[in-house]
């Protein structure tokens, strides 16, 4: 009886310390993966890190605005947020009719998203971290070769108005992370590190070493189509853009 109790205490203690689970965040075990870009198919290494289980919600961002009035619409510096910033807000602390408190926060610039994460003691995930987590479906850490996984993503990309749903309404992935696909696009720290020019057909040309996937995109591989659209989206934005379908979540390094 006593030993059982000790056991339980030990387990609880062990899981709290060794796994260092943070509230609302999932631990991602690092590894390496081969991203879409890079002709040489060099694997990219990702270290262990934590990432928010859910995208940041409207309600959470309202709280941030209260604490950081500098980021309210009327105060924000134009350089840091374009005219669409907080477009779904009636005023600085209230959403427009029909907008959900628990829906993912959108119409937010990269600068504002970055600041939000910093104020939580976190940071934006890197592009590689985000893609690494995004590879997972419910069962597998890397589901990119599965037809269903790719079809789900592609069908979301062409579904309008998916942003106004509560977070957690899509699937929970292998890492315990929700809504990586199916709700909104998400900012990453280095979103524009992979350059896709406006003329994507040219990028596919083998002569351009920055983006190529060239050969891969020329194939019928659905996996690349799904990722390709994310990269195209990232290539079209600037850090002060605020977009209705673009939200974010935060990450945290393990010290």
């Amino acid at each position: 009886m006593f030993s059982k109790f000790v056991n339980i205490v030990f387990i609880v203690f062990f899981s709290l310390t060794s796994y260092g689970q943070l509230e609302g965040m999932a631990l991602i075990q690092g590894g390496s993966y081969i991203p879409l870009y890079g002709t040489d198919s060099m694997p990219v290494k990702v270290a262990d890190f934590h990432i928010d289980k859910y995208p940041v919600t409207n309600a959470e961002f309202v709280k941030f605005l209260e604490e950081n009035p500098k980021w309210k619409k009327e105060n924000v510096i134009a350089l840091y947020a374009d005219g669409n910033y907080l477009r779904h807000f009636k005023d600085d602390s209230n959403l427009k009719e029909g907008e959900l408190q628990k829906a993912p926060m959108t119409n937010v610039s990269w600068f504002a998203a970055k600041k939000y994460c910093e104020c939580q003691g976190k940071r934006l995930p890197t592009l590689d971290e985000w893609e690494y987590v995004g590879m997972a479906d419910e069962k597998k850490a890397d589901a990119r070769t599965k037809d269903d996984y790719n079809k789900f993503i592609l069908s979301w990309y062409e579904k309008p108005n998916s942003y106004n749903q509560e977070v957690g309404s899509t699937f929970k992935n292998y890492w315990g992370v929700y809504d990586m696909h199916g709700l909104v696009w998400e900012w990453t720290h280095d979103f524009n590190s992979v350059l896709i020019s406006g003329e994507s057909r040219k990028d596919v040309d083998g002569g351009n070493s920055l983006f190529c996937g060239g050969a891969a995109v020329g194939s019928s591989d659905l996996m690349n189509y799904a990722a390709f659209m994310r990269y195209a989206f990232r290539g079209s934005v600037k850090a002060n853009y605020s977009i209705r379908t673009l939200g974010f979540r935060c990450a945290k390094s393990i010290k």
Partner: protein, 492 residues
């Protein structure tokens, strides 16, 4: 004062073009190439003195001719919308559009125009887009300069140098998917003098669509990338949907009018064999360029290409626009209508003059091959309801072509079955005709018919069913024909 200055400048300009034009008349070698070279230089040199907002139209309509205006700075303002629309009855699809329609708004320019193009990506859209106009001389047809994120707009400009009808489309990765979802349209660059005036102008564009469900499967259908890669289209349609040019959307014209169709093909995959059933194209601007072909039946329109077809409608009736890769027309939706009204012109088309029966084997009784086994199948008599059911199906596949859907027959050719005295008077005789066929004169409801019915390849059960169906439909006497009755006649 200023006016007269401009006028005198214009005059100078006109005489200058005359000189250039004259020079090309006197040149004796080099031919076409040199000529178009001259024209290109000329187009580049056209000065623009005014500014106007472009009138953009939704299909099937076209903005008015530019013949009466000088080259201008043309402001084009186009919005990209991702929205759900109807592909066919009960079938929905999420279209990506230029201006809210598939195909996108028609842009009418003329040679020498300076087009200032603003592309707006609606804030609710999910994806970045851009536009590649085939009418542009420049990298990517403007694609690189027009890449725009949702909630943003971008402005770029170009000068129209080559007259012709051009496709524009989205060229954002994955390009095929953006086009497959409807992101294409037409831009016309008219020659300086404008296209010759006609009575009616319409805008049509073909496109192929790839859906998760097969053709006609109900509900919201997602795009199917695999089918698109395999070029296995579920829908091939005009103006974005099945029925885009039929019913209330059909085109109209009056007898004697000359019609010009601006026809494009967005693809993404399929080449169109564009044909109008019941008309011959008097003139076709082949591939939308300068080359004119006359008296054309079917013109080929490549994916990402266009053609201008012109014809005078000569007689009243329904003209049918099709992709003459004909299964696309009748099974995938590539079919439109033009309703021509006006007076008959018997000297051009007289309609049916006489109908007769053509019998290559001569006027004897025809028979279908009889499967002996069929006649010998063991019999379990069907109930009347079952007979009606089976009979209806058999009627639809066997009898309907001549006797028609409601047994009304065809005057002077095939006698009616509905309320037919000849049928109701004698069941055995009717059974015998079905089993053995019939030729020669008979009188039905006071009218004489002299034609041939072949012996039908049906077993006893089937004959009993289909005749029970006929006797219990359209005001007939309600006889229930049994298999025994059929057997008796067969064994006679």
């Amino acid at each position: 004062m200023i006016d007269s200055q401009i006028k005198s400048k214009l005059k100078m300009f006109a005489s200058l073009t005359l000189i250039i034009g004259g020079a090309s008349l006197f040149s004796c070698s080099g031919g076409a190439n040199q000529e178009s070279e001259t024209r290109k230089v000329k187009a580049e040199d056209i000065k623009v003195v005014s500014e106007m907002k472009a009138d953009l139209t939704s299909p099937p309509f076209v903005p008015k001719s530019t013949a009466n205006r000088a080259a201008t700075k043309l402001i084009v303002d186009m919005e990209i919308l991702e929205e759900t629309g109807e592909m066919a009855d009960g079938v929905e699809y999420v279209y990506w559009t230029f201006g809210g329609t598939v195909p996108g708004s028609f842009i009418r320019t003329k040679v020498g125009d300076e087009v200032e193009f603003t592309l707006k990506n609606h804030p609710d859209n999910k994806l970045p887009h851009n536009i590649d106009l085939h009418a542009v001389n420049g990298p990517g047809g403007g694609a690189a300069s027009s890449f725009v994120a949702p909630g943003h707009e971008i402005t770029f400009s170009f000068k129209t140098l080559n007259p012709g009808l051009y496709v524009y489309h989205c060229a954002t990765a994955p390009v095929g998917m953006h086009i497959a979802n409807g992101m294409y349209g037409l831009i016309l660059v008219e020659p300086e003098e404008g296209l010759a005036p006609v009575d009616k102008e319409y805008y049509i564009m073909q496109g192929d669509f790839y859906t998760k469900g097969e053709f006609g499967e109900q509900g919201l259908q997602a795009f199917d990338m695999q089918k698109a890669v395999d070029e296995d289209a579920d829908y091939v349609v005009f103006n974005g949907k099945v029925g885009g040019l039929t019913g209330e959307n059909e085109l109209t014209a009056k007898v004697g009018e000359t019609v010009r169709l601006f026809v494009g093909n967005g693809g993404p995959n399929l080449v169109s064999s564009f044909h109008v059933i019941g008309e011959i194209f008097d003139r076709v601007h082949v591939e939308g360029g300068d080359l004119i072909n006359e008296n054309v039946q079917t013109t080929l329109i490549p994916a990402g290409g266009a053609a201008i077809v012109e014809f005078k409608v000569d007689v009243p009736g329904e003209l049918v626009l099709v992709d003459h890769s004909i299964f696309r027309a009748f099974n995938k939706g590539a079919l439109g209508m033009m309703n021509v009204t006006g007076d008959e012109k018997k000297d051009i088309f007289a309609g049916t003059i006489q109908e007769g029966i053509y019998l290559p084997e001569g006027g004897t009784i025809q028979s279908m091959p009889v499967d002996e086994k069929k006649a010998d199948e063991p019999t379990v008599e069907l109930s009347k309801a079952e007979k009606m059911d089976l009979g209806k199906k058999l009627y639809g596949s066997t009898c309907f072509a001549c006797h028609q859907a409601n047994g009304e027959g065809i005057a002077n050719a095939f006698p009616p079955l509905a309320k037919a005295d000849y049928l109701n008077d004698d069941v055995s005789r009717a059974i015998e005709i079905v089993l053995r066929g019939k030729s020669g004169e008979i009188t039905v409801n006071g009218k004489t018919y002299n034609s041939v019915m072949t012996a039908q390849n049906l077993n006893d059960k089937e004959v009993a069913a289909v005749m029970t169906y006929v006797y219990n439909s359209w005001g007939n006497n309600g006889t229930v024909v049994t298999e025994d009755m059929v057997k008796k006649v067969r064994n006679k």
